[in-house]
Structure formats: structure tokens, C-alpha cells
């Protein structure tokens, strides 16, 4: 067992943390108030990240990435978690699934995404297909050698800035003993494709400025060249490449919780009531003790999940546990921090109310807590035939 970070890992953590503190924090209030990131600011951030060699650091070196291990990349995500997601979006981490690009798709999508010339967004969720991915209605039919897509997607993060979308669409149905099961195919869809419209979605309580988009397909015609992976192989690419995104949510939650915790700790040490610092009351100090214990536990759980991926060990259950525990921990930490701050915690003079709001979505997206519990429990019971 070795629990320390290497010198390189420590420097990666230091660089990303300083970047977030110096280049992201100063703009957070503005983004929070206006609900958007000014275009020039986003582009300037992106350029700085490119110059630092961190852009698309989750991609292998042979396609121009930095080839970070899962563990190193999880550390990057953890430090980015401290900052506003609307802004850290420009610390580009394109979807790994683009590695499934073949032939000229590499030149058209993969390489420009890694170079920061094009931004991507992933579209899976539909109004009637959330956790039940296979329930998707958005479908593609064959027509004269092409595909005709109809349907809608929603909750599409990054839709505002995306030049192209990776869209999962039903391309048929198989009959199984358990009933009909949809076949899914992934498509690469350029913004501006006729029959395809991307529009701003709902106003969310979490992550203001990190907008969610709605995608509408009306007889949108796509050639075979836009299929990512195999036809009907959507689940295969999803499982191969999207497997680890739950870890990034866990890592985000740990980073954000640490930032939030510092507010709780310092406030408890300074705030005086009844003639003494509130940290002298066990009602407060024990909450602080519980918070740091939970944060550390979530941190180790998350890093060990990443380590397992690097070692090629089974990690499905462990990653689900990390996502479940870290996001629920973040909910408790932000709520307790707000409680320690009392009424001031609700006011937007402090970022606490924002941390508290932002935390809510983490238990929902990239697989709800319930789905994670399902994954964990099935992993345990399946071998027992139960």
C-alpha cells in the first residue's frame, strides 16, 4: 500500500488548484449573476489551458493529449471541482468516447476536439428516458442509404458551446425473453445540420451558467459516415468509454466539498456567539469533525476507484460506490456548512448557497444515487443468483 502522491502528481494538483484559484474564482460571481460565460472569457481560459498543455489531458499522447492515467486525471477533476463548472468547462476535457472515431472522423472530430478547435457535447437523456436509457424514443430509420433521425434530447450539458454532438439514438429493437430491447447507435451530429436544432433548455437551480440544452431532430438526414462505432453498437461504445465518467462526478464532489469545508472551518473558528468562538461548542465542532472524516473517506474511495482502473482491476462497483458516497457526502457537507453560517449562509454574499444548490444535481446526473445503489447491489447479488 502506498498512499502518497508522486512529485508529478503533487505538481499537477498544485498547478490545477492555482489555476482554478487565480483564473476561475475571480469570475465566479459575475457568471453566477448573469447566468452566462462571456464568449471572450471562455476563449481566453481555453487558450491558457492549451498553453499549459492541460487541454484534453485525458486523451492519449498519440492523438495529442497528455496521456494522463485515470488516477492523475481524477486528481485534475478533483481540483477543478473547486471552481464554477460553467468556467471549468473551458478547461477542456472532451468526451473520451471520441477515441471510437475511425477513418476521417479522426480528422473531423477527434483531433480538432483534442486541439481545442471544436467542442463536443454528449446527448443521451430524453424527457421520457432518464435512468431508463433504453427507453429512448429518439430514433433513426434507414432511408436511401442514409439515416433519418426524429426525436428530442434534453439536459444536454455544454450544448451552448458545442460544435458537434455525440447523440445516442434507437436504431431498432430486439425481442428478448424479458421483452423488447432497443438497439442503440451513436451518431456525430454537427451544429447546423439541417433538421437539427439545439436550443437553450431549462433554468436549473444548480451550476448557473453551465447551461443545459434541448436538441430537436426533425427528419434530420445523416450519412453512415456520422456513425460513431458500429451501427447498433451504441451500448458497446458507451460501456467502453463512458464507464469512468461517474468518477469525474465523484472527484468533482470531493474538490468542491474541500473548498466548502474551508469556509465552515474558518467561520466556526472566527464567529463568536454567547461570548466565545462557535467552534468551542461541540454542536459545531463535532459537525466539523464529521465533515472532514466524510470528505477524506470519499477522497480515498474515489482515488482508489481510479487506481483500480489503471491497474485493470474490476472497478464497476467501486466506482458506483465512489459516485454514490461522494455526491451524498457533498450534499451533507454543503448543507452543514450552510447551517454553521446560519442566515448568512443563504445570502449570496458568500458562495455557500451556491455550493449548496450546485450539490443537488450531483446525486442525479451521470446515474442517480438509486442507479448507483442498483449497480452496487446487483454486483453483489448476481454471483449468488439472487
Amino acid at each position: 500500500m502506498q498512499f502518497g502522491l508522486s512529485e508529478e502528481q503533487n505538481m499537477i494538483v498544485d498547478t490545477v488548484r492555482s489555476f482554478v484559484e487565480n483564473e476561475i474564482y475571480p469570475y465566479e460571481s459575475e457568471v453566477e449573476q448573469s447566468g452566462q460565460v462571456p464568449h471572450e472569457l471562455g476563449e481566453a481560459l481555453k487558450q491558457k489551458v492549451i498553453d499549459l498543455g492541460f487541454y484534453a489531458c485525458n486523451f492519449p499522447e498519440e492523438v495529442g493529449g497528455a496521456g494522463l492515467s485515470h488516477l492523475d486525471f481524477t486528481l485534475v477533476e478533483r481540483e477543478l471541482g473547486r471552481g464554477s463548472m460553467a468556467l471549468t468547462h473551458f478547461f477542456g476535457r472532451p468526451q473520451n468516447i471520441l477515441m471510437a472515431c475511425e477513418g476521417d472522423q479522426r480528422e473531423r472530430y477527434l483531433l480538432p476536439a483534442v486541439r481545442g478547435e471544436k467542442m463536443d457535447a454528449l446527448a443521451m437523456t430524453e424527457p421520457e428516458a432518464g435512468s431508463d436509457v433504453r427507453g429512448m424514443k429518439c430514433s433513426a430509420m434507414r432511408s436511401g442509404g442514409d439515416w433519418i433521425i426524429n426525436g428530442s434530447k434534453h439536459f444536454i450539458s455544454g450544448g451552448e458551446h458545442a460544435d458537434f454532438f455525440i447523440v445516442f439514438v434507437a436504431t431498432g429493437e430486439d425481442q428478448t425473453p424479458k421483452g423488447p430491447k432497443k438497439r442503440i447507435t451513436a451518431f456525430l451530429v454537427d451544429r447546423g445540420t439541417p433538421g437539427f436544432e439545439a436550443r437553450e433548455g431549462y433554468k436549473s437551480v444548480s451550476h448557473r451558467g453551465y447551461k443545459n440544452y434541448v436538441l430537436d431532430f426533425t427528419d434530420c438526414r445523416l450519412p453512415d459516415a456520422q456513425v460513431l462505432g458500429e451501427v447498433d453498437g451504441g451500448f458497446a461504445v458507451m460501456n467502453e468509454w463512458l464507464y469512468a465518467t461517474r468518477l469525474t462526478v465523484a472527484a468533482f464532489s470531493v474538490g468542491r466539498a474541500r473548498r466548502c469545508f474551508d469556509y465552515a472551518l474558518n467561520y466556526a473558528a472566527e464567529r463568536k456567539q454567547f461570548g466565545q468562538q462557535i467552534s468551542k461548542f461541540q454542536g459545531v465542532s463535532f459537525q466539523i469533525a464529521d465533515m472532514i472524516t466524510e470528505i477524506d473517506a470519499a477522497d480515498w474511495l474515489t482515488l482508489s476507484g481510479a487506481w483500480r482502473l489503471d491497474q485493470g482491476l474490476p472497478a464497476n462497483r467501486e466506482i458506483a460506490s465512489a459516485k454514490l458516497y461522494a455526491t451524498e457526502m457533498l450534499a451533507r457537507v454543503t448543507d452543514t456548512t450552510l447551517q454553521i453560517h446560519g442566515g448568512m449562509g443563504l445570502m449570496d454574499d458568500y458562495p455557500i448557497e451556491r455550493f449548496w444548490r450546485d450539490a443537488r444535481v450531483e446525486r442525479i446526473w451521470d446515474g442517480t444515487s438509486e442507479i448507483q445503489r442498483h449497480i452496487i447491489s446487483r454486483d453483489l447479488f448476481r454471483p449468488l443468483g439472487a
Binding site: 498547478t15 492555482s18 498553453d51 489531458c57 497528455a66
Partner: protein, 252 residues
């Protein structure tokens, strides 16, 4: 031209320092340590000189405990070419005194023959502000302290210094020792490719004895105390009341 940049491992500027119970110094156990911010500025300046073609090699040097290796790696990740670690103590709480550091640096300079030494003006832990000046004296070189601008032109350097009355510009002959102030530049972040390269760059490990220097302390710390807590102020309702209070306090 070679440039030598001495860097010190100090308590991170974000850490709220605590005095040790016995008053012998500041508690450094389990505390985040970083490169002295003024030294970071010096490293940045040296790298810029290299990028501008005015320096060929940037050598980072640290004198202290073995853990200062991390600080040197940071300098290498920023862009220094190689590093020299001089181990002068095995106790993280032992501060190596400026004269000791200056003597060791002199030993290194005698070997390396740099044209310029760029130091931070002081370390944020003990604020001695002495190493650069002592080194200049030991070497018999010129010195320019508190630099906020530096321009090297052949055999001389023009340095703008931040002095009490404003800015003073002086010209010094090379080789020289320049100590840098806060406004000289904004240090870069270590880029990811440079972080990955840092481990492969040479880092020589030496001891104080290698330079014939006795690193044992000559100064004794009698006591260390936290600054007195500032007393709470009062609010006054009017200018008249303000004047009255000031008179009471004997301030006017």
C-alpha cells in the same frame, strides 16, 4: 551565460502559521510547504532571460533539508534546466542562516561560474532579507536589490529598484547578484509537459561539507510569539465625537 537561482522551501503563504508551544519557532509539522514566492519570481525571470536568448542555462539551487527536492522539482517544472540540492540539515525545523547559505552559494558559484545570480529579496518565513547581499559581499560582486525591472545588456545590467521613496534605477556591472521584488513579473504555472519532464532533469545532491561550510546555527532563537491580537475599534456617531475621542486618546 549561466543563471543561478537559489530557491527556499518555506511554509506556504496560504497557511495560517502557529507558534510551537515551546516558543522555539513556527510549527512546520504536517504543514503545506511551497517555494518562497519571491524565489518563484526569480525563477520566472531567469526562464524569461533564457527565452529571450540572454541566458543559456538556468540552475536552481536549494540549501536545506532533503524535502527541498520538491521545491527544486517545481523550479524544474517551471523551466529551470537542472538543480542542485545542498542538504544542510535533517531537521525541518532548522532554518539555515543567511551567511551559511551565502557561503554554500559561493562554493557553487566558484564551480559553475554563472554570470548572474537571481535571488528572492527575502524568504517569507523569517524575512531576513540578507542572503543576496551577503553573497554579493563574499563574491566581491555588484548587487542590485529589490528589483522591479531588470534589463541585461552585455557586461552590465540596468535595474529598477523599489525603494522607500519610489523607484531608483541603477546600472551594475556583470557578474552581479540581483534580488527580486514582487512586481518584477508574474510567475507562470508549471505546464503539464514540463511537469512530466521535470523528473528527467538532473538534480545533484550535495552536502554543506562538500563546500567546506559548517552549517550549524550561530544564532539562537530566544523566543517566538504571535503578534498581539488587534484590539477592537469603536464606532463614533459624528465628527465632533471623533475629535473628542482622538483628544481623549491624546492623538490630536
Amino acid at each position: 551565460m549561466k543563471v543561478i537561482v537559489p530557491v527556499k522551501r518555506v511554509i506556504d503563504y496560504n497557511v495560517k502559521v502557529r507558534v510551537k508551544a515551546d516558543g522555539s519557532g513556527v510549527d512546520l509539522a504536517n504543514v503545506k510547504m511551497s517555494m518562497n514566492p519571491f524565489d518563484e519570481i526569480a525563477v520566472e525571470q531567469a526562464i524569461r532571460l533564457k527565452e529571450a536568448g540572454k541566458a543559456d542555462e538556468v540552475i536552481a539551487v536549494s540549501v536545506g533539508v532533503k524535502q527541498a527536492q520538491e521545491t527544486l522539482r517545481t523550479a524544474l517544472a517551471m523551466g529551470a534546466d537542472r538543480a542542485i540540492l545542498v542538504i544542510a540539515s535533517d531537521d525541518v525545523h532548522t532554518d539555515i542562516e543567511p551567511l551559511t547559505v551565502a557561503k554554500i552559494l559561493k562554493g557553487i558559484i566558484d564551480e559553475e561560474q554563472p554570470g548572474l545570480v537571481l535571488c528572492g529579496k527575502q524568504a517569507i518565513d523569517n524575512d531576513m532579507n540578507a542572503t543576496g547581499q551577503m553573497l554579493s559581499a563574499l563574491m566581491g560582486w555588484s548587487q542590485a536589490t529589490f528589483a522591479s525591472e531588470l534589463d541585461i545588456d552585455g557586461d552590465s545590467a540596468t535595474v529598477t529598484r523599489e525603494v522607500d521613496g519610489g523607484l531608483q534605477t541603477i546600472k551594475v556591472n556583470m557578474p552581479t547578484v540581483v534580488t527580486v521584488d514582487l512586481r518584477l513579473n508574474e510567475p507562470r504555472y508549471a505546464s503539464l509537459p514540463n511537469i512530466m519532464k521535470a523528473k528527467k532533469k538532473p538534480l545533484d545532491e550535495k552536502t554543506a561539507a562538500d563546500y567546506g561550510v559548517d552549517a550549524s546555527p550561530r544564532l539562537e532563537i530566544v523566543n517566538t510569539v504571535e503578534p498581539a491580537a488587534r484590539a477592537a475599534g469603536i464606532k463614533v456617531g459624528s465628527v465632533d465625537e471623533l475629535i473628542e475621542k482622538l483628544k481623549e486618546a491624546g492623538a490630536v
